[in-house]
């Protein structure tokens, strides 16, 4: 399946997400969680709402690829979607970047692959 050309930041049609790539297209759970905790609710909501508007197209586009064969622009799009899932509880459940009444975030060491 043809993806975007390698010098594109994101695949065709996802231009509105490009401003988020630097800060939110993060490879590891640890980085994504750190970014969530370091962001204000306004920043998180702006990212969350913009991402949700593109989820239909994002899912359609990425479902044509295999995880191990994602070209770089698709890979960035995939990481953005993982960051959406990272911030989802902050918006939908906690109304706060961090988990309220929980053990301090730094006490839990993220060692996910």
């Amino acid at each position: 399946m043809r993806g975007a050309t390698p010098d594109q930041l994101l695949p065709e049609g996802f231009g509105e997400l490009e401003p988020f790539v630097c800060e939110w297209a993060l490879q590891s759970e640890r980085e994504r969680n750190r970014k969530r905790l370091a962001s204000s609710m306004e920043e998180i909501r702006r990212f969350y709402e913009t991402m949700l508007r593109h989820m239909e197209a994002l899912v359609t586009h990425l479902s044509r690829f295999k995880l191990q064969d994602l070209p770089q622009p698709e890979r960035r799009l995939f990481w953005l979607a993982l960051s959406l899932m990272e911030v989802a509880p902050a918006v939908e459940t906690y109304a706060s970047p961090d988990v309220p009444d929980a053990i301090a975030a730094h006490r839990l060491i993220i060692r996910s692959p």
């Binding site: 989820m55 995939f78 509880p89 459940t93 988990v99 839990l108 996910s112």
Partner: protein, 406 residues
């Protein structure tokens, strides 16, 4: 203790009150007895076979409760063996890393070298030992066995029971779970200032869900469902039910759509043809979410449809516990499924952070000496009483271990 495997009591225990003494959670002497009379004689889960898939792959576990470091290695014959990570020469630690792949293990003190079977193969200036019989000085082996891909060890050189006997009925209930379809997606660790039993108590009842998880699992508070509890000798089992009633939240709806079976979505499994062994959801209730098996003394195994969660609690001292959680989801090469899984992983992690909020303060309160006992409900919290009782029975019945060791 094997006789207790037969005597299980089941179903929904009747309401009642039980008092659990606090002293065993704060006494250093009691902790020393737990070490000598329990941990040094029982089967303990220390990993999974897929962590060391190829010959020469190894992992190292430094276990304060056993006062040793263990080296677990897959030999050229494919067999996994465990050894004390101690050179037979003068006792130096051999492997310094926590995992890797090797053909030989080389002691950094004087260069004694062992193969992946644990055999001593090379001694520098061997002739100066005047006819050293290297066959006598291999690494000290530790009994090891596997169950459903989990690696267990027992540092008693002559274990009282086989692993199969030790696990008993619980081993049979879980048989057939498709562990081979799963892969590790989440791992979180913490060092918690609490006694190991107090820590584990936080994960063996559903009673706390309405308060600790009032934000993350609001459906429970609206409609609390009593968890099923059943004991199997020294082990036990909690079955968790939940009526999911809320409209899926936007990100959750995407996770659902992508078909990821996860955490609170277990009930949707019928459509997904997930293979569920008969030992799970034994009462076949439609609002079943997961079964948790409490494998004595320190391994909690949660099994849902399409997700596996392992809690490993490793006592360090009477006041300190190292803890690791491992979350497994079905292997996939589909990026959209992987995105849906991330939702499941993140919500699991955040929910567990809520669980951890009460533990250190509970332990500190026990240390204050204000309470002599905890007051628990037999119907809701019976597995707390059960675990503390089993610990107490081991400590009582195996007094002889201290003398045998002396």
């Amino acid at each position: 203790m094997s006789d207790r495997n037969a005597g299980q009591h089941s179903g929904a225990p009747s309401p009642g009150i039980a008092f659990v003494p606090v002293e065993p959670n704060i006494s250093a002497e009691y902790f020393a007895r737990e070490r000598e009379r329990i941990f040094k004689h029982v089967w303990l889960k220390i990993g999974r076979v897929d962590e060391i898939p190829r010959p020469g792959d190894y992992l190292v576990r430094d276990l304060a409760i056993l006062q040793t470091s263990l080296l677990v290695v897959r030999g050229p014959d494919g067999v996994i063996r465990a050894f004390h990570n101690i050179c037979r020469h003068r006792g130096n630690r051999i492997v310094q890393t926590c995992a890797g792949s090797a053909r030989h293990f080389f002691c950094g003190f004087h260069g004694w070298t062992y193969d992946t079977h644990g055999r001593l193969t090379y001694v520098p200036q061997e002739e100066e030992f005047g006819g050293l019989d290297k066959d006598r000085f291999g690494l000290v082996q530790v009994p090891l066995d596997t169950w459903e891909g989990f690696i267990f060890i027992n540092v008693d050189p002559a274990p009282r029971e086989t692993l199969e006997e030790y696990l008993g009925e619980v081993g049979r209930l879980v048989r057939g779970y498709p562990f081979e379809q799963m892969e590790l997606v989440g791992r979180w660790t913490a060092h918690i200032a609490s006694n190991w039993k107090t820590f584990q108590d936080a994960f063996v009842e559903g009673y706390h869900v309405g308060t600790v998880h009032r934000r993350s699992i609001p459906d429970y508070r609206k409609n609390p469902r009593k968890a099923g509890i059943q004991t199997f000798g020294r082990h036990s089992n909690l079955t968790f039910y939940l009526d999911l009633q809320h409209e899926p939240l936007p990100a959750e709806a995407w996770a659902f759509k992508a078909g990821a079976l996860a955490f609170l979505q277990s009930g949707t499994a019928k459509e997904a043809h997930w293979r569920r062994p008969a030992g799970l959801n034994r009462e076949q209730k439609p609002n079943w979410i997961f079964d948790e098996f409490l494998i004595f003394p320190n391994f909690h195994l949660f099994l849902g449809d399409g997700w596996v969660l392992c809690h490993d609690f490793w006592p360090v001292s009477v006041d300190q516990t190292d803890w690791t959680v491992s979350y497994y989801l079905p292997k996939t090469d589909n990026p959209v499924v992987r995105i849906a899984q991330e939702y499941s992983k993140v919500t699991m992690r955040d929910t567990i952070r809520e669980d951890l909020s009460t533990i250190e303060s509970t332990h500190a309160a026990h240390r204050s000496g204000v309470l002599s006992h905890m007051v628990v409900s037999s119907a809701l919290e019976g597995l707390i009483t059960h675990h503390h009782d089993v610990v107490a029975r081991y400590v009582e019945e195996h007094r002889g271990e201290d003398r045998r060791r002396a």
